[in-house]
């Protein structure tokens, strides 16, 4: 995958590597309040390791100084209940002090381009419905409620 740069964002997008782990863990912890080192080590191993095709993708947006300003993770999943395989956005984070510059849009656009090479025509994601920032971001990027709905049950 080529490195892409958008003028207005001041960042470049490239595939993540194992060396990005600590920066991704730190950025994720800044936003979620929890440092999940083992989780991200596993994600990076599975999404950036050798042999991964266009069906798994982890990208980072880096500033001119190499600092990670954001990242996105996505994959193509086969799906039951009547759906053909589609692209899933599993994670997307942009550093709070770098928001409102189009970095999230750039990352999502690059992820979509990568997943499209895997021959899917739809992307999906799942966001907490009260998460106004992410909900309005994905809405603004053209995602809308689809034909599937998340159902869950508390296990006693």
């Amino acid at each position: 995958m080529d490195i892409r740069q958008a003028d207005s964002t001041g960042v470049s997008v490239r595939p993540a590597t194992a060396a990005d782990e600590s920066a991704i863990v730190a950025l994720d912890a800044t936003i979620t309040g929890t440092a999940k080192s083992a989780y991200w080590a596993d994600i990076l191993e599975r999404y950036t390791g050798p042999g991964n095709g266009p069906d798994r993708c982890c990208l980072v947006a880096t500033s001119t100084t190499g600092e990670i300003a954001g990242f996105i993770v996505g994959e193509i999943r086969a799906w039951e209940f009547g759906s053909p395989p589609c692209g899933w956005v599993i994670a997307l984070s942009v550093a709070p002090d770098r928001r409102e510059r189009g970095i999230g849009s750039l990352l999502l656009g690059e992820l979509c381009a990568a997943l499209k090479q895997g021959d899917v025509s739809t992307i999906r994601t799942m966001v907490l419905r009260d998460d106004k920032v992410n909900m309005s971001f994905f809405r603004g990027e053209g995602l809308a409620a689809g034909p599937y709905i998340e159902l869950e049950k508390h296990l006693e």
Binding site: E100, R129, S136, R139, G140
Partner: protein, 151 residues
Amino acid sequence: MKLQKASRYALYAVLHLASSPDRHYSTAEIADEYDVSTHHLAKVMRTLVRSGIIESVRGVGGGYRFAGNIRRTTLWDIIHEFESLASDIEARDNLSRPAHIVVSGLEIVTGEIDGLVRSTLDSITLQTLLRYGIEAIEREYHAAEARAGSG
């Protein structure tokens, strides 16, 4: 979902002002554009000014202008100034057991629906909604062109 008239008028007015942020519109102009009551819209405009979503502009060429952030203000930010959209099914203390079961079950379902409605409205910014409108018009235009081309 059926919106109250005040919510609908507020959405018309705020979206109209937000779509042309450099222009001012009078209540009469907006009422005329959407074919709604000027009197009723005037009351809605006063509420919107108090909430800070729009502001009045005095003097010649005065009227109202959008005062929010088009990328941040959501449909819910406007609607909740006028109504809660919450269902009115509520279990009272003195219900019999069978009635309590029925009402409690309905409360769960309507609560789920209320949550979905509210989160949907709160996720759509004015900018996104205006883009939906532009895209819908473009699709209609291209469909009409295609029909004309094949006819």
